[in-house]
């Protein structure tokens, strides 16, 4: 597949993912046609399902390889000419690898869950891959039209995935809601792009950068609308309202995937657009990002407190984390970029890990998601309770976890840019969010058991939770220790790749 990807140039990772999606669909047709007549636990069925997951995993791994191979070759080799619509530079490659890694974890989380909740039917893995292909396009885009197409490709499969559990009204409702608001946001985004084109006659980032002037009313209106679109995708306050509903209603592995596909993709793309197209407007945009970031941190932390549903609480946590990551846009320095990518990587680990525990607990046909459902979990499932506690502490940024160092890096970069006030908001938000997240460990460790979760966690779920937990602890103790595959510490590696 790597060889197949070569002719696609900068579109390579997206092409691999799309081919993977087609392969999964074909395999499904060939091997799983009679799935409705077979019982879900029959051997044939199980093997076929395993095959689908394996094909999808291979596609994702190859896509990661293609993306990083581009960087290894040298930034220019597979990058295409400077004025092309897509460019697989270091930033794009690292971003795509991050998204694919997160998507892979979510995929492994899905396999058992879909069977247990009896919602396995056609196209799940293909949709997952297609959404990631969209992310791969949008993250390498150098042109606003390509960006918009990529966003649509990334977003539309997620609506289907959110509404995938058709038996549950919440899921269907969430899918519809996210689709409608997304359509609205896309319309605003494309309207903004149109206005920008009208004002400057340009769509390429580099050309836009030259053509944009701050006192051009038409261009500024267009820019504002484009930013609304981005803020909606990243669920930054006040464009976040779709997120809690969609996250709560979606099947839990999809919720985990949303944190990767929606939040991380949008923020990484925003980073790229700001860096490539809007760098000269830094002083103008800074207060905007400041307000978005601060509002997201405050409201995200505040709303976490009152949630009773763990999924909804984590959705609000995600809003707050998008705010923390957006601090890097305020700082807008080289070290801030590195800090943001590192932050999003850690964010994916923490969220996917936490959702992994929720997924693992999903009991026959019913989700375990209310905080009360977790009471006494430390006695019935001590390992899962410990892992979930770890992820929550990391989300709150407690020292010793990756969340702490991620936040430290981003605070340091922000202080370096002289934005002490925003850091103060961030610290306050951390304190408040700790209050919110600790309710769950308190329930797990200090209250009596209410109900039992599913009997046994499967290998793939344990693998995901284990990877996330080890990474969270490892990065929390040694954030920059040399990693065998990379030849450098993670932070140094990101810095050199993004360069």
């Amino acid at each position: 597949m790597q060889a197949l990807a070569m002719p696609f140039g900068a579109l390579g990772p997206a092409a691999v993912l799309a081919m993977g999606a087609v392969a999964v669909l074909l395999a499904e047709v060939l091997f799983l046609r009679r799935s409705s007549t077979l019982s879900p636990s029959s051997g044939v069925e199980r093997r076929a399902r395993l095959l689908l997951a394996a094909v999808a995993s291979v596609a994702i791994l190859v896509a990661i390889g293609v993306a990083l191979g581009g960087v290894a070759d040298s930034a220019a080799a597979s990058a295409g000419s400077p004025d092309s619509e897509l460019r697989l530079d270091g930033l794009a490659a690292v971003s795509i690898a991050l998204i694919c890694f997160g998507g892979l974890l979510c995929l492994w989380l899905s396999t058992t869950y879909l069977t247990v909740l009896r919602i396995e039917h056609g196209g799940y893995y293909a949709l997952l891959l297609l959404s990631m292909a969209g992310s791969a396009v949008v993250l390498a885009a150098e042109n606003l039209m390509v960006l918009w197409v990529g966003f649509e490709l990334a977003a539309n499969p997620t609506h289907a995935l959110v509404g995938f559990d058709r038996k549950r009204r919440r899921s269907t409702e969430a899918g519809l809601k996210s689709f409608i608001t997304s359509a609205f946001a896309s319309a605003i985004l494309v309207y903004g792009i149109a206005l920008l084109y009208g004002a400057t006659g340009q769509l390429d980032y580099a050309a836009l950068r030259a053509g944009l002037v701050a006192d051009d009313g038409l261009a500024m209106t267009g820019l504002g609308l484009v930013l609304v679109g981005f803020a909606w995708k990243a669920a930054l306050v006040p464009f976040h309202q779709w997120a809690p509903d969609a996250w709560e209603g979606a099947p839990t592995p999809v919720t985990a995937f949303l944190s990767v596909a929606a939040t991380a993709t949008a923020l990484l793309t925003l980073l790229r657009v700001v860096d490539h197209a809007l760098a000269d407007l830094g002083e103008l945009l800074r207060p905007l990002f400041w307000a978005l970031s601060a509002a997201s941190i405050v409201l995200g932390a505040a709303m976490s407190i009152i949630q009773q549903s763990v999924k909804r609480m984590l959705a609000w946590a995600s809003v707050a984390h998008a705010g923390y990551a957006a601090m890097a846009l305020v700082a807008a320095t080289g070290s801030a970029r590195v800090a943001m990518i590192f932050y999003l990587f850690v964010y994916v680990l923490m969220h996917v890990g936490a959702f992994g525990v929720v997924v693992t607990l999903a009991a026959g046909g019913r989700e375990v998601e209310q905080i009360d459902d977790f009471a006494g979990l430390s006695r019935t499932r001590p390992g899962l309770a410990a892992a979930l506690t770890l992820f929550l502490l990391a989300l709150a940024g407690i020292p010793g976890t990756a969340g702490f160092f991620a936040r430290l890096e981003i605070f340091t970069a922000t202080i370096g840019a002289g934005e002490l006030g925003l850091v103060a908001v961030g610290v306050l938000g951390s304190v408040v969010s700790l209050y919110a997240y600790l309710r769950l460990p308190i329930a797990m460790y200090m209250r009596d058991t209410r109900r039992q979760g599913r009997g046994q966690a499967t290998m793939s779920e344990l693998l995901v939770i284990g990877i996330c937990a080890i990474a969270v602890v490892w990065l929390g103790l040694l954030p920059n220790a040399q990693l065998p595959g990379l030849g450098a510490g993670l932070l140094d590696w990101i810095a050199s790749a993004v360069g």
Binding site: A231, P238, N480, A481, Q482
Partner: protein, 684 residues
Amino acid sequence: MLSEVTSSFLRFIPALPLLTGVLHLVSIGLLRRRLSARAVTTISSAAHTGALLLSILAFWELIALDDNAALVDRVGTWIGVGVAPSVFTADLAFRFDALSAIFCLVVAGVGLLVQVFAAGYMEADQRDDRGFQRYFGYSDLFLASMLIVVLADNLVLLFLGWVGVGIFSYLLIGFWYAEQVSARAATSAFVVGRVGDLALVIGIVLVFWTLAAAGSATLRLGEIEAALQAFDGVSFALPVWLGGHPIAVAVIAGFCFLIAACAQAAQLPFLLWLPGSTAAPSPASALVHGACMGAAGVYLLARLSFLFAIAPEAAALMAWIGVVTALLSAGLACVETDIKRVLAYSTATHQGFMFLGVGAGDPTAAVHHAVSHAFFQPVLFMGAGVVIASLRQEHNLLRMGNVGSRIHLTRICMWIALLSSIGVPPFWSGYFSREQILVAAHDALLIPLHAPLYVLALVAVGLLAFSVVRLMYLALYGETRFPGEIRMRIEEPEPIMLRPMAILATLCVLGCTIGLPQAWADLFPFSVKDSDSIRRFLAGVLTTSAVEQSPSSWSVSGQVVGMTVLGALPAALLYVFRPELPQKLETRFAWLHGLVANRFYLDVLFERGIVQPMLTLSDRVLGRWLDQRLIDGVVVDGTARLLQRLSDRVLKHTEPGTIQLYLALMLVGGLAMVIWLLRAGGAA
């Protein structure tokens, strides 16, 4: 400048016990599945054996190198914070030079032996069903922290280990947390430890600032010494109302490190957490208070001896603190009736001698004494543990007596350790190290009023001898002062407990070879060359500022031996031959006994002066006011309550779930953004 050789296995020395400690705690704390006692001891002792073997391997590599060389294992950048140019980085790196080598070998070796002893001891004594593995979890992590302290390449990593030592010693002291005494003692040890941590942080920050101002921002131990001239002439001025004199930064930093070391090694004014800490299980006492914790303090002082060489005021204070602590705690030990407290006081006395050694400008002698102390003191604590356990947790010396006849081998080990502790020449390791400290004190002309320093130290030597011999006779000899039916059940401990004691006792005897002064070696009928190996080994690492390097001085030797005999003989006389006499003396000199038995009212002072204010401070000011009122009340609870109220009344209504509202809010937000861009951009 020290030459550095890269080595890649040093990291595993602290990592092995760290790993097993975490494993134990995860197993009981998170997974709630206990391992069997056998598995626990196997895992732990394998880790400690591994650490010891690696230490020995590193030691071999080190002595094959030049003098003054160091092995360095750099794992990676650990913390990198800050904005250029004042970037602060700390590596996760370990350093194995002569000083680290000595402490590392001692900590790993004695640690292994004590852990083996503990395997037997804790098996017999489990008051809480998870106690066994919990004990090994704590003590493995304690040893790992200790190894991090002595192997750290920079002060930040050292601080991390230092905090770990504090935390895990706290957990070990409060091991039987259900007992009020343990909990109380642990609290006071913890409070003192935090004072020390704070002082250490301030000291580290001062060093970093001074070096950064001079353009060489580093906290690596080797580089600090090389950049020491940065301290020249840098000083803070006192406030005018205090006279306005400038005080050199080196002195202030020295004071800070001294306070930290005092807290760790139970020196004045923190002396009195140590007797309380004997609430810990006996193997923990042997490990924490016998071998390690004071050694950490002495290690810090010896490591920074170059700093104290340019901060004579701090060094002088150190010497005085050491002597006064030694004297007071030796005096206290003479009337104490709790067997482990007597030993705790004698530990404080020995650590006082070590402080005296560093302060008087001869850190080598102090390091040597720390090594000797790590050999003999654990044996005494272990022996005391055996006695206490066989008498059903009886700590009171006055209700013991004649135990020794049932436990011969233990008694022999304890005698060897005792002779080493009180320093009976010539073959017991404790003698030479302490003699050299006293020689240094005798010659410490730089210290104001150094003559009383030496005399007071001699008195402490005598009192120490008296107190330990008294303990021996009260516990192991004389008439039986406990119920007879217990006596039948006293038996020699299991080999698993006896062997570590025997090995350590052997080391007490053999230990003298590492630091035999040349003057003594010349007395041998056969010729011994280069006898004082520890001094030569450490010569490149430690900064010795003692006036005269007289390896031994016969007049000092005579006085020390004389004082030892003067202390030991009356003890034998009083407690063996005239057992009724102590009682009479107590009534005759009731005022003196009362003064000493009440610990010179020092504990009142300690409680009211240090522990209570700290607790009050942390409780009222930090806890109740700052934390509860301000942070909890206003910031956290206030915010939380405000938000709760806000969310109940307002926020909840922002998530009604209707798309129309979402879209409307989105439009309003988008409009605001566009308007901002238009206005700020200058278009409207």
